[in-house]
Every structure is written in structure tokens, then in C-alpha cells.
């Protein structure tokens, strides 16, 4: 047989045995979430009776095929196997339409949707903490914190940054196990990583000062700041740094942790946006004062997490060794924790959300600028209604010393995609990003400016300025060569994210 004709694809046969199974292996029981990327179902595997969560990767709205966030999440979750990290059990495909437009049987096995199959989890930490009348005990908080740190330590050892640690991404089952979920913003990093990373990650309330000050080189310490915020939130019973925008967020951080200077944070004055956000007068660190009601060991640990300078912030491993976890009352056994009724009452939530929307609409008509919110919800920074417009003025190729634009944080839906709506007394921080992690149809692709990679003449110029390498005469984009051989900064022609990087949705940045 000759080779396939141009454009021919083998779509009629099911994927080979090592490919994915069909979603028909599962019986959908109930929808437990709804995100812009698609639905999440509680389902039962027919053969085994096992209960799972099916997260549909919706592609009808995708202009660029399979969503990049889903690709990343799959890639990362496939290599992570830990009891405190959500387990991606498999990927299944749905058979798609049975008939084509003419009513003929359509054998194309690849028209349908793709689902990620996760172990089923009953709750998320935010939802649980928010139950009326529910207060966590100290051993319970220690138990959750210990699991959170253990899972995060595992990620960091495997060179994965989560980049969206917050309560709604920490899932809890009825056996008290806590697991990190939603790796849609996660990425691999290496210790000597030379490329720049986006600072537009992590939901605002949990975002560390270095990102707010514009850092593009960062490491696991960013996740540890978020852990600190969650820790304090558990003890304090409400979010500790509920900023409405990036500026206010930094102010709140400085009011709590003091304003940074070269003494406590060497290098801070050279951060891209330091001058824009420098407080008018120095502020004192007041963590101890604010949280004086915490017990001594808790406070001691929290102090080490909420350190402004990321290089001095405690890491996950050392945090696990903290006195807090080894003094009475000790963390309890997860299995000893009480069980709660499932938190995924999708229909109830939907109703509640509808009610909220109505209230909000009424409120908006009354006041242009709503008063200080008492919600536990980071606000939509676009007023939540600019969905059709692109985030960024096109071509704002501004240098890094401009004030950071008022951009929403990354997607911040509950992992299972609970309904989200306009700002309101919703516990779940909204997705500031229109679309959420599984929908980038309005983002990077449509506006087009990708990170220009390896521009310049990294390879041809070579580390020693030689040209005429094997590939030197071709388009010079052997960035590896330049990057790694680079002794004189001639490596990459430029920051791989380019000047236009902030012009994009986070999802497309490294």
C-alpha cells in the first residue's frame, strides 16, 4: 500500500489499545459543576462501580483546538503520583455524533469530547470552611495544613509550581484526605531556569508580593506565600488579605507585613514595579499584633511563611518540621475527622447564584462604586462585564516599569467548576479572567501576540560570536544552543516572553 494521501487521517478506527477508552465506560450520575470550560459530573465506572469525577474538556468554543491549559494539566498530572495530589485516573473520549449532516453514519471517532477522569472528592476547603456553624478544631487545621504542605513539597521536589494555591483548589474527601487540584496554571521549572515566567498567576488574595512587584523569575516560594494566607485564613476564619485590585493587595500586604526595603529584602528596589507601589511612608511589620490570638507555634510558623523576601520564606519541607506540627494538640488522623454532606450540590448552588446575580444587578443600579465589600471574594477587576472586549489595549507593548495593568488574576473557579458569577457574597473567588482556565478562546490566540521565542540570532551568533554553525545559515533559532552556550548574554535574543507578554492571557505564557 502506498503512503497516505495528503490530508488522510485514520479516524475510522478507535484509537489503538494504548489509546483512551470511551466515556461510555462511565455512567453519569449528577452534574456537580459547571465552568466555562464545560461540565463536571459525578459518575460511576460501570465495570467497577467506582465513583469518579468527569471533567469535560469543552472544545466547541476553542479556536485553537485542545486547550493549552488542559494539555499542561494533563502533562503535569500524569507525572505526579501522591496521596495529597489529585489523581488523574485516565482520559476518555466520547464517541461523538452518530450521524453526519446528511444522516449518514459518521465513523469519525474523534468528533466527540474529551474528559479527564479524576478520583471523586466530596468537598473543597473553602466550601467546607464556609459552612454555617462549622468551625475547624486545632488538630483538624493541623491535619489539613500538614497534608497541604506534604502535597506541595512533593510537587516542588518534582519541580512543579502549582501557581494557584487557594482553598477552592484544595479538595477534601470524607476520609479527611486533602489533595491539591487544578493544575491548569501549573508549570515545571528548573532551578537554573533562565527563561522568564509570567507574574500573572495566583488568585489575587493569595498572590505573593514578588509577583505583585513584577517578578518574572520565581520559584516554589510563591506557593508558600499562598499557603501562609490559607493557614492564617483557617485560624482567623476569614481571608486575611482581601484586596480588590493589585495596588490594594500590595497595600494590604505592606500594612500587615511591613513595607519592604533593601535591608529586609535585598534587591526589592530593583523590582520592576517597586517604584509604582512604594508606600509613602515606611510601615511596620504587624503580623504578631494582628494575630496575637493565635497560639505561639502557629504564629511562629505563619511569620516564616509571610516573609516578604521570597528567598527568606520558609519552604514546604522546613514548614513540615515546624514545632507547630509536633506539639500538642498534634495533627489528628484524617480518618478521625467528621464527615460532611457533599459540597457539590450543584443545583442548590445554581439557585443561590441566580439569587446573587439578581441582588448584584439591583445593587449596581444603585451605586456606581459599591462600598467596601464584606465578602470573601476577590472582586472581578473588570467589573465583570467586559467579556467581549480583549483585556489589553492592543499593541501595548509597554516596558516592565509601567504600572501593572489592572488585570484579573488567573482562573479561580473551584476545581470542579462551580458556577461562578459576578462579584457578590460568593465564597468562591471569581475568575477574573473571562473564561476560566479551560477557555482561552478570547485570549492569546485571537489577539495573536505570542511570546516571540528565540528572536535574535542566538545560535548563529553563538557563545563566542562564531557563525556558520551547522544550522547557522538557516533561520537562527537554535535557542538551546544560544541559551546554553551563552556566556555573553547573546543567548536568547530577548526575554522569551517578549515585551508583549503582558499583553496576553497568562495561559499562553511560559
Amino acid at each position: 500500500m502506498a503512503a497516505a494521501a495528503f490530508g488522510q487521517l485514520n479516524l475510522d478506527e478507535p484509537p489503538p489499545v494504548w489509546g483512551s477508552r470511551s466515556v461510555d465506560c462511565f455512567e453519569k450520575l449528577e452534574q456537580i459543576g459547571e465552568g466555562t470550560y464545560g461540565q463536571v459530573y459525578m459518575a460511576k465506572e460501570i465495570k467497577t462501580g467506582e465513583i469518579v469525577a468527569l471533567k469535560k474538556i469543552r472544545m466547541d468554543n476553542e479556536r485553537e483546538g485542545f486547550p493549552i491549559t488542559a494539555i499542561r494539566e494533563i502533562k503535569i498530572l500524569k507525572k505526579l503520583h501522591h496521596e495529597n495530589v489529585i489523581q488523574l485516573k485516565e482520559i476518555v473520549t466520547s464517541p461523538g455524533r452518530d450521524r453526519d449532516d446528511q444522516g449518514n453514519p459518521d465513523n469519525n471517532k474523534y468528533k466527540g469530547g474529551i474528559y479527564m477522569v479524576f478520583e471523586y472528592m466530596d468537598h473543597d476547603l473553602t466550601g467546607l470552611a464556609d459552612r454555617p456553624g462549622l468551625r475547624f478544631t486545632v488538630p483538624q487545621i493541623k491535619c489539613y495544613m500538614k497534608q497541604l504542605l506534604t502535597g506541595l513539597h512533593y510537587c516542588h521536589v518534582n519541580q512543579v509550581l502549582h501557581r494557584d494555591i487557594k482553598g477552592s483548589n484544595l479538595l477534601i474527601d470524607n476520609e479527611g484526605n486533602l489533595k491539591l487540584a487544578d493544575f491548569g496554571l501549573a508549570r515545571s521549572y528548573s532551578h537554573d531556569h533562565t527563561g522568564n515566567l509570567t507574574n500573572r498567576v495566583i488568585t489575587l488574595w493569595y498572590r505573593p508580593p514578588e509577583l505583585l512587584l513584577g517578578a518574572t523569575k520565581y520559584g516554589p516560594a510563591i506557593d508558600m506565600w499562598s499557603v501562609g494566607c490559607i493557614f492564617a485564613e483557617l485560624l482567623h476564619a476569614k481571608p486575611i488579605l482581601p484586596g480588590k485590585n493589585e495596588h490594594e493587595q500590595l497595600n494590604k500586604i505592606f500594612e500587615l507585613c511591613g513595607s519592604p526595603d533593601e535591608n529586609i529584602w535585598p534587591g526589592v528596589s530593583k523590582m520592576p514595579w517597586y517604584n509604582n507601589f512604594k508606600p509613602a511612608r515606611p510601615l511596620k511589620r504587624r503580623v504578631r499584633e494582628f494575630f496575637r490570638h493565635f497560639d505561639r507555634h502557629a504564629l511562629e510558623l505563619l511569620e516564616k511563611m509571610l516573609v516578604l523576601d521570597p528567598s527568606q520564606r520558609i519552604n514546604a519541607k522546613d514548614a513540615l518540621d515546624a514545632e507547630y506540627f509536633w506539639t500538642d494538640p498534634l495533627p489528628c488522623d484524617p480518618k478521625s475527622l467528621p464527615t460532611y454532606e457533599s459540597s457539590h450540590e450543584f443545583q442548590t448552588k445554581k439557585k443561590r447564584q441566580q439569587q446573587r446575580q439578581n441582588e448584584e444587578a439591583a445593587k449596581r443600579q444603585k451605586v456606581q462604586h459599591p462600598p467596601q465589600q464584606h465578602s470573601r471574594l476577590p472582586p472581578l477587576q473588570h467589573g465583570g462585564q467586559s467579556h467581549a472586549a480583549p483585556h489589553w489595549p492592543s499593541g501595548s507593548n509597554h516596558p516592565a516599569n509601567n504600572a501593572p495593568p489592572q488585570v484579573p488574576a488567573g482562573p479561580s473557579h473551584h476545581f470542579y467548576g462551580k458556577p461562578r458569577g459576578p462579584p457578590g457574597p460568593n465564597r468562591h473567588p471569581p475568575s477574573g479572567n473571562q473564561g476560566g482556565s479551560y477557555n482561552q478562546s478570547r485570549g492569546g490566540y485571537s489577539s495573536g501576540p505570542y511570546p516571540p521565542q528565540g528572536r535574535g540570532a542566538p545560535y548563529a551568533a553563538g557563545p563566542r560570536g562564531h557563525s556558520g554553525g551547522a544550522y547557522g545559515v538557516g533561520p537562527p533559532n537554535y535557542t538551546q544552543g544560544g541559551q546554553y552556550g551563552g556566556s555573553g548574554g547573546s543567548g536568547r535574543g530577548q526575554n522569551p516572553m517578549g515585551g508583549g507578554s503582558r499583553n496576553q492571557q497568562y495561559g499562553w505564557q511560559p
Binding site: A4, G7, S20, I114, G454, A470, Q480
Partner: protein, 308 residues
């Protein structure tokens, strides 16, 4: 770490390929492998994606064709899909439209018609799921680059030597992507062989630490090192490449290996990839030609492994 089951022996690759069942022989498949890898290298460069993205696309494509037949899947479309996916995987995404437009230009030396473009685009989006499913969504792909770089930086103290060695090894790795090496060996093993070939080529001695031979830390045996080296060099002597200009302007030390012209032979198979013809002489990365292996070995100062 990559799953070990992702690797197989050369014999397995050659005997069990789904293409073989459909009557495509080893020679043809080798040619296709060379063609789509070369195509992806060019496509990636024109799209200005990092080399790592290009390498990922080639590995994806090669893995795909260990599970699917060339008779049922057009390698050109699959290649474009693999680059499209690799861009997303490696954080250097390119729009499907751009990939198609540039790819079409390489293959056909003209712009696609509106109709052709839309058709390919439909194929790319559908085929993306085909590729991902066929690969079982195993998308973590490692490469030898960082391993080599770290090792050279740590081990070779003279900076000039380190750079020359790394550049030479890098070129061997990139040229080796046109072989099935990435299906047989792990990145660390390929890294070791490329460093060996590179060191022969630029005449940089690799340090020996007393009893310990340098390649031990790459978790590779001497036999494997020899096999990888031989297969890498074989890419320069494929018999579908003919008429190479003299490689005499190759200089050592500048990271450049050879300059030469390559033309595809005119058998039927190669015609389907005729778009590739146009740019090889520009690229000039291939030394080749019939029975040039000894010549290559001479240029390299390559010492057959048995005599080490």
C-alpha cells in the same frame, strides 16, 4: 521520568511498525521518518519556536507512527499537528493557521487556496485528538539538551572547549532526531553519545576520573554508546540523499559541522515530499552521500567503539 515502556529496540521498531502491515517497507519508512523530521525542523525554524519545541514535535510524530500506519495517516498533516501540540506543551504556542500556512509553503512552495486551507485546518483540529489519543496523552517528553549542558558546564573547565563541545554535541543530537534513536534510547543515553561524537569532532578530551569512565553517570553502556553513535552517523549516509558538495569548508571549533548540498533522489516516494528539496541546500546541515560513512568517520576522527 519518561516511562520506560515508551522505548523499544530497533528490531521491534522495524518489525512491528503498523506501516509494515500495510506494505510499507523499512526503507520507505526510514525515508518518511527523515522527511517529516526534516520538515518539522524547517517548519519550527520558520515559525521561530525554540529547538526544544521542534524536538518535542519530532518525538511526538515518531511515537505516533510506532502506533499508527503511514498508509492510513498522512505524515505531513500529522507533522503539522505535532508541531501545533508541541508548541502548547513547551509554552511556545503557535496558531494552527500559522502552522498550516508556513507548512504549506514549505511543502508546495505557494500559498494554500482558501479551500485547501480550511480543509487542512479541519484535519488539524480533528487530527489533534487522534494524535493525543494515540499517544495515550503521555505528553511529558524529555530531551538531551539540558543534561548535556549541565554536564559540560560541570565537567569541562576550559570555557572555550566547553562551548565548542556543547555546540558540536547539540548538532549531533539535532541531526539524530531524523533517526529512530528517540524511540530506542533515553535522553541521557543520547546525550552521552552526542558528547562522545562531539568530543571526537572538536577534539576535546573528556575527563576521566581515575577508575570511572566519564559516561558511567549517563547510565549508558559502552555497547549502547556505540550503537547510538553509529546510528547518528548513519543519518549522514542515507542513500536517498545524493550529490553532496565537498564538505571541505567545514571547520572545527565553530560549532559548525558540515556544509553540503543535499538533493532527494527522484524515486516516487520522495516526490511526495518534494517541497523539502528546496531548502536543504540552504540549510546544508547534511553531509551525506553514498558510502560516505568512512569519510564522515574520518572527518570526525571517530574511533570505533570496539577499539576504545
Amino acid at each position: 521520568m519518561a516511562n520506560t515502556s515508551l522505548y523499544c529496540t530497533r528490531e521491534e521498531i522495524e518489525a512491528n511498525s503498523p506501516s509494515r502491515v500495510d506494505g510499507i517497507d523499512i526503507k520507505q519508512e526510514t525515508f518518511h521518518r527523515w522527511s517529516y523530521s526534516t520538515f518539522l525542523q524547517e517548519l519550527g525554524q520558520r515559525l521561530k519556536v525554540p529547538q526544544k519545541t521542534i524536538a518535542t514535535s519530532i518525538v511526538l510524530c515518531q511515537r505516533f507512527f510506532t502506533r499508527q500506519s503511514l498508509a492510513k495517516n498522512d505524515a505531513k498533516t500529522i507533522s503539522m499537528i505535532c508541531l501545533f501540540i508541541a508548541g502548547k506543551l513547551e509554552g511556545s504556542p503557535k496558531q494552527a493557521g500559522e502552522v498550516i500556512a508556513v507548512g504549506y509553503r514549505i511543502l508546495h512552495n505557494k500559498e494554500p487556496s482558501r479551500e485547501a486551507y480550511e480543509k487542512i485546518k479541519g484535519n488539524v483540529f480533528t487530527g489533534e485528538k487522534l494524535v493525543l489519543s494515540t499517544l495515550g496523552f503521555d505528553l511529558e517528553i524529555e530531551h538531551p539538551y539540558e543534561i548535556m549542558f549541565d554536564w559540560v558546564k560541570r565537567t569541562v573547565k576550559v570555557e572555550r572547549d566547553a562551548n565548542r563541545l556543547y555546540q558540536a554535541a547539540l548538532n549531533f543530537v539535532n541531526d539524530g532526531l531524523r533517526t529512530s534513536l528517540c524511540l530506542q534510547f533515553k535522553p541521557n543515553q543520547i546525550a552521552a553519545a552526542a558528547l562522545y561524537l562531539g568530543s571526537s569532532f572538536v577534539k576535546v578530551k573528556l575527563p576521566c576520573d581515575g577508575e570511572k569512565v566519564w559516561w558511567q553517570e549517563f547510565d549508558v553502556t559502552k555497547r549502547h554508546l556505540g550503537e547510538i553513535s553509529d546510528q547518528t552517523l548513519a543519518v549522514y549516509e542515507q542513500d536517498f540523499l545524493v550529490n553532496v558538495k565537498d564538505g571541505a569548508d567545514s571547520k572545527t571549533g565553530d560549532g559548525g559541522l558540515w556544509k553540503g548540498e543535499v538533493k532527494l533522489s527522484k524515486d516516487d516516494e520522495s516526490k511526495s515530499w518534494q517541497g523539502l528539496e528546496g531548502y536543504q541546500d540552504r540549510k546544508g546541515s547534511f553531509m551525506n552521500g553514498s558510502d560516505k560513512s568512512r569519510h564522515v568517520a574520518n572527518i570526525l576522527g571517530y574511533v570505533p567503539f570496539e577499539s576504545l
